[in-house]
Structures are given as C-alpha cells and as structure tokens.
Amino acid sequence: MSGTTVQESAESLGRSVGSGERSAVDVARSFLAQASRSATRLGTYLYRDEESILAAAAEIDARRKRGEALGALAGVPVAIKDNICVRGVPVTCGSRILERFRAPYDAHVIGRLRTADAILYGKTNCDEFAMGSSTENSAYQPSRNPWDLSRVPGGSSGGSAATVAAREAPLSLGSDTGGSVRQPAAFCGVVGLKPTYGAVSRYGLVAFASSLDQIGPLATSARDAALLFNAISGPDERDMTSRPETRPISLENLERGVRGLKIGIARELLGDGLDPEIRACFETVSKWLVAEGASVVDVALPHARYAIATYYLIAPAEASSNLARYDGVRYGLRVPAGDLREMYEATRGRGFGREVKRRILLGTYALSAGYYDAYYLRAQKVRTLIRRDFEEASRKTDALLMPVTPTPPFALGEKSEDPMAMYLNDIYSIPASLAGVPALSFPAGFTKGGLPIGLQLTGKPFDEETLLRIARAWEQKSDAARRLPPIAMEKAA
C-alpha cells in the first residue's frame, strides 16, 4: 500500500485523512518506510524523529474520531528546511555553530502548519545558513540528487527538494534568497515556489539576507504547492515586512488553462551560457503556450545582467550583520579561548564553514567606511533598476518564462572549489529575488540522460496564482512532473 500512498498528492492525502477514509498514522508510516529506504543515501535529513511523527499522526486520528473538523493538510507530512524554527527541535542551519541548538519557539509558518493539521516531518539538509547552490556546504553531509546520486540536488534547499522528489515526504518547505527553492526544485524535478517578498512571514526563519529571504513550498504538483502556499502565507504582525496584499490561491482557478494569458520572454537571457537541452525545452514550452492560446511577447530586462554582481553585494552585506549574533556568548557553539576577542575568533573560526566566512568577509567589506557608497549603495540602486525592469515587463504580460538554471544538475565536487562558477548557477533565479516578485520553478522536461529540467515563471507581486495556473496546464500536457526517480521506485527489501 505504501507504494501507492507515497505517490498520491498531498491534496488527496489531506482530504482522505480529514474524511476518515485513511488514518494519518498509515500515511506517516508509508512515508517513513519510503524514507527509511532512501534518506540516508540521499542525505536528505538532519533530524527526523519517527516516534514524535507517529504520535502527532495518532493525535490527528484521535481528533478526527472525536468528530473534530480537520485542516486542509490533515495528516500530511511536511518536511522542514533546517533553517526554520520548530519549538523544541534542533535548528542547525547546516552549521556547526548551531550544532546543539534547539529552537525554543515556532516559526510563523510552523504555527500555520499546526493549524492546518499537517505533520511536522523532520528537518532537511541545506547549505550552511542557506548559502550555496548544491547543499555541499552543509557542515554535516552533502545531499544527493534522487535522479542520479553522483549529482547534487541543488541548493540551498537541496534536502527539501530531494526528499519530495524521492517521495519521502509529499511536501516540504524551503527558503529562497537567490534561488534556493527554485534551483533545487529544477534539479530534482519538483515544483518550487518563491512567493512574493512579504507574502510569507519570515518570523522564525533564520535570517540569511533579510531583504531577500522568503519561505516557499516544494511539492510534486502545482496544486499541492498552492495548497501549502495557502497554508503558510498571509500577513503576520511579528514580521513588519509581511504584506496585507497577500491573497490565497484559488485551486479552482488553477484549472483555467493558459488561453488568453500574455507570456513575456526576455531573449537576452537565452544567451551563450544556456545548456542546449534546456534551451530546447524552453522552446517546446513556449510553442505549447502559443498553441494553447496564450500570446508570447518579447520583453526586456536590461539590468538583469547586473543581477549577480548586485546580489553578491546585498546578500553578503546583510548576512555579515545577520550572522554576527553567533558569537559564542549566549547559545550555540563556544570555543573557550584567552580573552573575549580570542573567544569570538575561535568560536566563529571553528563554527562557520568556508562559504559562510567568504560571504561574511564580502559583506563586511561592502559595508565598510569608504566602500559603502561604491558597493552597497550602488548595488541598492541597481536593485531598484532591476525591480523597475520587472514592473515594466509586467505591464504588458501576466508572467515571464525563463530558465531556472543554465545547466542540468552538476556532479558533486564539480563546482565546490570554484565559488564563481557556483554563483553563476543562480544567474536566472536572482533577478526575481532582487525584484521581490513571485517566481516558480516547475518540471518542464528531461535531458536525454534522464535528468530533470525545470523552467521558471515570474509574475506580478502577489499573483502566485497565475504562475501555478500555467504550471498546472503544463502538467496536463507533459509527464515531467509525474515521473519518479529510480530511487523512489525501489521495492522494500
């Protein structure tokens, strides 16, 4: 039975647990069994407590038996990226500096998941403090791509993407600062949504770059992603950057097809660095759009070419400040040393990995007296120009279609010694992050070698719905979202 349960949609699982057709404990057992076969090899989890998962599922069943009405995600396991706080549970952010730290409070999204009667399913592996595009920067373990274990699942939400792709969990939460939900979604062949900045409260998300960070859902279908988005989004008075304009997505509207939609394409993004198979997939989808009655128009994003340079000033600058609190004084790792300054140095020296240190240095430099105007301030100005590019483009379009990544998933170790090559992998995902607009990565096809290809849709602020509607229409045409990676089809031993 577990073989079919884990292939069902979160929507159907939640409905059947809510109606009592199926027990939450059975659902949890099915996914735990699936995870027990693959999670260690995939390196998807940093923490997963089976007992508490089953206890929470039993509690859902008990409440249903008492006749209580249950939420939309009743009994649906949701894996949580390990930079989101769950009360009483470790939150390491993939870093040694928080190795033994447990969060004493729930993030806003966690409270919302509890309200929706979801099962908190464990903490997924990620690049340290969400800095990376391969999950190789986790201080604990790399994660692997379920389609090819020699390749990376992307990052930084690599664990969250891989676990959903391998059907170890039906849903997961990631966080996206410059592409950390979308890029691993593309590499693993799942749906990943970066909501509009302000649509989901960041309260309880461990900050990397505050003006860019957004928590986003990962799922195997557009409808499931919408379901999870609806559960976690909406204004929160504890996050002053959360926005009242946020709207829930109508699942009904997702079925309306693409007829009449205007889709923009920025040709300048389809230049030399783009893998030919991804380009071919892009062309297939854009042709399909036209065939389905959408119109495809050219748009210009003239400042997108500065996005990486801009991002690598703003994000590290904010990170250098956000990570100052890990100083060994109040919690987390403390490495005793001579005096205060030596203790700071020893603690941060041992607690942080190379990429985190690199970005702290970058950011500290960019904010320094004498450099601030030339770097940080200039970057903020370019960011405004990029935002305006998107505003301009959205005046005549409903969404923009673009790649998520320039290449299919790369091999472990291939780029880990070359930070610039790693940074360039985010070339397509960063512009939408800087603009603050919603962006979706959806499974669009496969390479000849059997690796997933994702494409990206970006939209108007707070119009996540249109992006998922397009992805939903593509799901009905293509089997890209329904294919299972080999590891998910292995039979129980």
């Binding site: 609190r325 109040r330 904010l367």
Partner: protein, 486 residues
C-alpha cells in the same frame, strides 16, 4: 592656569540618551521595568535568537515625535532605521537598531541659562534606538576575570538627542542637561532617573583661542551619568586640553571614559581604534512613514511646557520670575502651588511658603510633592489665615510643624493646641501688667526714657503668650499700661 584659561573658549556639544517610559520594549513585548532580577525580562528577541524579527513599538515613536515637536524640531515624514554593527557581549544581535542618515527629528532648540541671561542651544537631531544590555564584572575567584551579562535592559527604547556645539562651559552643559531632563519629565516620556540610567550623557569637548573661527580638535567623554559628572568631567577636560596646548602639545582626537571614582577622563580608544560601525538600512523594518495628520495629532497632545508654565505663573499670579522658576521645577509642584495660591488668595505668600518651608522639608526628607504630608488645601487654608492676619508668622510656623505630623485641618489644630491668637484688649492688658510686674527694672528704664527696653518687654510678653499675642495690639497694651503706671 587661571590666566591661560582666560584666553580660551571651550566648545561643547552633548549627546544625551534618554530611556522612554513605555511599558514594553521598542521591538518586543517584554517589560521595561527597572530592577528586576537579571535576565527575567527577556524573550527570544531580546536574546538575539536565530529567526526573530523586530516589531516597532508605536508608543516609542509617539514619545520621540512629541519630544521633537516640543523642541521645535522637524518630524520627518519618512525616517529609516539602520543597523550599527559591532561585537560586544551585551549586544545580543551583534548590531544595534538605531537611526543613522534619516533620523526621526531634525533641528529644534533648547533655551538654557547662561550667566544672568538666557541662550538658545541648537539641536542637530533626535533619533530612536534600542538600548543594549548591561555587562557586569563581579570579582572572580582568585583573580579569574568573569563578565556577566544582564539583558533586561536590551531593547528598552531610547532617544538620542544631539546638540550643536553651542555650549561654552560645564555650567551651561549642566543647565542644558537639567532643562532637557525637566522637559522630558514634563512630557511624561522619561522618568528622568539618572541613578537608574534613564538619562545618560556623552560630551564632545574642544577648546580654541578666543576669537578663533576654526574649531579645535575634539574629544568625546563617555559615561557622564549625573549632573555633577557632566560638570566635573567637562571642567577636567577643558583644563587638560588647555594645559596640553599651553605646553606646546596637541589634542588627540580620541574617546575618553570618565572615571567618577578618580575624577579623571581616561583614553578608551584613539581615532585609529575607532569602530567602523558599517551602518546600513535595517532590512527587517520598513521605513517609518508618518502622516502630517498623525504628527499634528501628537502636537495637539503636548502638555504645557516648563517655560510656558513659568511665563503663565508670572503673568497670572504676579510672582517674580525667580519664584516661577523654582515652582515649575516639576509640573506637580507647580500644580501644588497653583492650588495653594487659589485657596489662600495669597499668590506671593503661597510662593514664599512653598519655596522656603515646604522645600526645606522636602530637601531634607527627599519627598516628592506628591508624597508631601501637607496637601495643598490645608496649606492654602493656613496661608490664608496668615495673609488675613488671623495668625502671626510665628504661630504659622508652629502650626506648619503640627500639620506635618497631623492630618487635621489647620483650624482644628489651632483649636486643639491653643494656638488661637490673643487679641482681646483686656487679656492683653492683663498680660502687659504681668510682664511689667515681673520686670520692674526694664519697665522703670523705659519710663526713664530708655526706648530700647520696650523691645525686651514685647519679647517677654510674646514668649509668655507662646507667640499668640497679636503683635500690634500687644504693643498698644504695653505702652498704655506703662503710661498709666508711671
């Protein structure tokens, strides 16, 4: 030194940090109450735990804007919070949330005493920020250095009020501090308690040759947490800088820390060691936008300010400016005065009694006017009797002492303690006769033309009557009896 000092002009600017009297902290719901056991008024935000976000306390903004409007500053329609980055154990996040290039209030001024007159001290800005925690350095055992951190204070709202370098002496600086404190207390936005650190001051000090237009190199003295320290530290630093210049040296730009124990300012860090705070806009808080209507609604709630109240008392009560200044020390003292003046119908007499007797008792006992045992209605009744000549000043003083101990009305206390004045002619004649009989010598001397002894006889009679005798009528009676018995 004395003559050297004559040739120089000190130039002083103050940066005053004032804790705002909000119930909760600036970015979370924790209590701001002073004196709780260490680390009992803290939450994940105060501790700088991973994932927490600040939410702005609207009350703190309201208070800060009110201070700005009260000093005539421009309250910005948009101001921006910024992070000031530095590492210190009592700074939980590794940065302080403050305001940098876009503060809440710009400009404004404060009028202070300067010698016999008044002068206007211009303000640069007033901005909102959070306080840090407190580092404590208890004696470690066997010389082991330990530091303990109390984060109860972390996140208490502060305003920083920065003056232009318009002050010219320690005395002016002290008066500026005192008037600023008075203003904040009048506005009810700060408790003004300097011992508890509700008001703290850093001073920028430089000296230049009199007549010079260019400013000298300044030093910043930190940790001036009482009026006395402000005065002493500035005087110390002025002397030090003049001494340096006079001996051919130069003033180094540095930050000094005032040591109240030793009465000296010591180098904390040189210019080269100055922090680079890497300020940048706080991404967790949106720019603070305030509408004109909101700002005007704050302006409407500004209570009567010290100088306005002072001017009104001079105008309405016809009392000297000096009296008005003393009586407006606090709003409640002024309120007390107004009640006593109204009840007694004797504005100047009421002022005299409060400035002398009431304040003498309060100074000795440390009581606030609210705690003072004689309420305004009772003092008003007493002052009325004095004013109407029903009791003498001497009786009034006795009565005042009784009133301090006994909450009964003045009339009742007069009755109970037999303090009623003797103004009955027959009784006074009897008293005069008794005194003359008891002092035949002085009486005879008077009759012999020694006018001086009359005062002695009056004094004796007053003493005998325990001050109750009506002074003029007594004198009349004495003269009459002395004349009759000649």
């Amino acid at each position: 030194m004395e003559t050297a000092r004559e040739g120089y002009e000190p130039v002083i600017g103050l940066e005053v940090h004032a804790q705002l009297k909000t119930r909760t902290k600036i970015f979370c719901g924790c209590s701001t109450r002073f004196g709780a056991p260490p680390n009992t008024q803290v939450c994940p935000l105060c501790l700088g735990l991973p994932g927490v976000l600040p939410t702005l306390n609207a009350r703190a903004v309201d208070f800060a804007a009110m201070v700005g409007l009260a000093v005539g500053a421009q309250v910005a329609g948009r101001s921006v919070f910024a992070r000031k980055n530095y590492f210190y154990p009592d700074l939980p996040k590794g940065y302080q949330i403050t305001q940098y290039d876009r503060p809440l209030c710009v400009g404004g001024s404060l009028t202070i005493r300067s010698g016999a007159g008044w002068k206007t001290v211009r303000l640069v800005r007033i901005h909102l920020e959070e306080d840090a925690g407190k580092s404590l350095h208890p004696e470690g055992r066997e010389g082991v250095e330990t530091t303990r951190v109390d984060l109860n204070r972390a996140g208490v709202p502060l305003i920083e009020i920065v003056s232009e370098p318009d002050l010219r002496s320690g005395a002016e600086a002290t008066d500026y501090m005192a008037r600023l404190r008075q203003l904040l207390v009048y506005l009810d936005v700060c408790d003004g308690n300097m011992e508890e650190g509700s008001l703290r001051c850093d001073a920028n000090v430089s000296v230049r040759k009199k007549g010079a237009s260019q400013l000298g190199t300044k030093t910043e003295i930190k940790n001036l947490n009482s009026f006395r320290f402000v005065d002493r530290a500035i005087a110390f630093e002025i002397d030090r800088q003049i001494g340096l210049l006079e001996s051919g040296g130069r003033v180094a730009q540095e930050t000094l820390l005032w040591s109240s124990e030793r009465g000296v300012a010591e180098t904390m860090r040189s210019k080269e060691e100055a922090h680079d705070y890497r300020y940048f806009p706080e991404p967790d808080l949106l720019p603070l936008d305030l509408s004109r209507e909101w700002i005007e609604s704050v302006r409407e709630r500004i209570p009567e300010l010290p100088h306005q109240l002072r001017e009104r008392l001079v105008r309405e009560q016809k009392i000297p400016e000096y009296d008005a200044e003393v009586l407006t020390d606090t709003r409640s003292l002024a309120g007390y005065y107004e009640e006593v003046a109204a009840r007694s119908g004797q504005p100047k007499l009421a002022s005299n009694w409060i400035m002398t007797e009431v304040n003498a008792v309060r100074n000795k006992s440390g009581l606030t006017i609210e705690e003072f045992p004689i309420r305004a209605d009772r003092l008003g009744d007493m002052v009325r009797m004095v004013g109407e000549g029903k009791i003498s000043g001497k009786i009034a003083k006795q009565l005042f002492e009784l009133m301090l101990q006994d909450p009964a009305s003045p009339a009742e206390l007069i009755e109970r303690h037999g303090l009623l004045p003797i103004d009955d002619e027959a009784a006074l004649r009897a008293l005069a006769k008794e005194i003359i009989a008891a002092h035949p010598g002085p009486a005879a001397d008077f009759r012999a033309g020694k006018e001086k002894t009359f005062a002695f006889l009056v004094g004796q009679a007053m003493k005998q009557s325990r001050g109750r005798a009506h002074p003029e009528k007594l004198q009349q009676a004495l003269r009459a009896v002395l004349a009759e018995e000649r």
